[in-house]
Amino acid sequence: MLAGVPLTLQLAFSSIALGLGMAIALALIVRAGLRPLSWLAESYVFVFRGTPLLVQIFLVYYGLGQFRPELQEIGLWWFFRSPYYCALLALTLNTAAYGAEIVRGGLQSVPAGQIEAARAFGMSGLTLYRRIVAPIALRQALPAYGNEIILMIKATSLVSTITLMEVTGLAHKLISETFRSFEVFFAAGTIYLLMNFVVTRLIDLAERWIAPDLKRENRVAMVPLDTR
């Protein structure tokens, strides 16, 4: 089963990296409030947060598989034929929606007085964003985003349903060979726990580095409860 760890981590971290980029773009679009665009972004977030990830994975892999001739025509079949790419796409789209909410919350939490102070000293535009708004938003958003990373690592187990042999997929396979469900799933759970233990530590270090003045209790208190 340990052989599945690289695939699990690869799926989790690629989707998180791609999804974070999308999340920031979505959050900025919503914040800018340009009507048709921000409305689209808000609907996107609503739809992807409001439907189960498993259904999203099935839709991308099986659902779009139905349109094979059309996809072949536009030269995208190689992508949608691959369970790996489909899983990556579904995970990315899903985490982007959650991430967008986290980024939006972070931006919203930046105190108006601190932005005003920056303006009063002649800062504006990109410098204001880069030097003041983004770092303060990051401090606020990091605990919630750490939570999102942990959720994503666990969420990758769903891709075993589209034939991918990550930790859970390998566990299924092992059980069909040995019929020892309890031991195998127990071991699988332990592997996820260990991965998340390491990730939690890393997130904690990042928080300490980015917000050295905030006390741990305060940071944790800001993490919203959210499960998938």
Binding site: Q114, A117, A120, G122, D213
Partner: protein, 260 residues
């Protein structure tokens, strides 16, 4: 006009309303270089709005604001009011103004020292080493050398306000604007902040100070302005405004302040 009486700021005939509330109603104020002006007046009389119009955090509906002889360019905005016509000009003129807020507004993600060097490095593009050297001198002056590596959340309100004053000093402003710098502080912390402001006044810095500390205004100001409903109701040297105000409202306001 000789150099010693150049105008650091001139505000002429300012009008500003928020919705149907007229906050400034034809206000004119100017400060010569080296002058310390105290602005007093009851809550809601427009003191903060005046300061915020000087650095365009609030854009006046009509009237002009000139910083060091240069009028800030404004243009009509769609849907009423006005907006800055030239952001580059505003950003440049704002560097001549050091604003100190009632609620400090230090940047929470930066240490005290980083707060002080932020604008010099990232707005004024001064070399980092020079900015740090100068920041250390300023922090020494406001008595925060030992707190330079603390974050705002780790120091007291009085220390935060002194850090905010240091941040304003670091841009080498021609005019300092203080909006009730001590009214968010516990009484025992007021003194340390007033001491710093007094030092600045003695150095001959040009300052406009909105305050409820009547005793302090009397002591440091060259000129006191009493605002009432968005207009200058009384203006003159402290001895006149506090000792023999011409306006009945001003007299009442001062006696109510002295009683409390």
């Amino acid at each position: 006009m000789d150099a010693s009486c150049r105008l650091a700021v001139a505000v002429e005939d300012l009008f500003k309303c928020f919705g149907s509330l007229e906050v400034l109603r034809g206000l004119s104020v100017s400060a010569r270089d080296g002058e310390v002006i105290a602005i007093i007046g009851s809550s809601g009389s427009g003191k903060s709005t005046l300061l915020r119009c000087i650095n365009m955090l609030e854009v006046p509906d009509s009237g002009t604001v000139s910083i060091a002889g240069e009028a800030i360019k404004l243009k009509p905005r769609r849907g009423g009011g006005r907006e800055p016509a030239d952001q580059v000009q505003i950003d440049r003129l704002r560097q001549k103004l050091g604003m100190v807020f009632q609620s400090f507004n230090l940047w929470s993600h930066l240490t005290v020292l980083e707060n002080v060097i932020e604008a010099p490095i990232h707005v004024q593009k001064r070399p980092k080493a020079a900015a740090i050297d100068e920041a250390l001198v300023i922090l020494e002056k406001v008595g925060l050398t030992d707190k330079r590596n603390h974050y705002p959340s780790q120091i007291s309100g009085g220390q935060q306000q002194r850090a905010a004053i240091a941040r304003a000093l670091a841009v080498q402003p021609q005019l300092m604007l203080f909006d009730e710098p001590t009214s968010a502080l516990d009484p025992e912390l007021v003194g340390e902040v007033l001491r710093v402001i007094r030092t600045l006044a003695e150095e001959g810095r040009t300052m406009i100070l909105v305050t409820h500390e009547m005793g302090f205004a009397k002591e440091v100001a060259n000129r006191v302005i009493f605002l009432h409903q968005g207009k200058v109701e009384e203006e003159g040297p402290p001895s006149q405004v506090f000792g023999a105000p011409r306006s009945e409202r001003c007299r009442q306001f001062i006696s109510s302040q002295l009683r409390s």
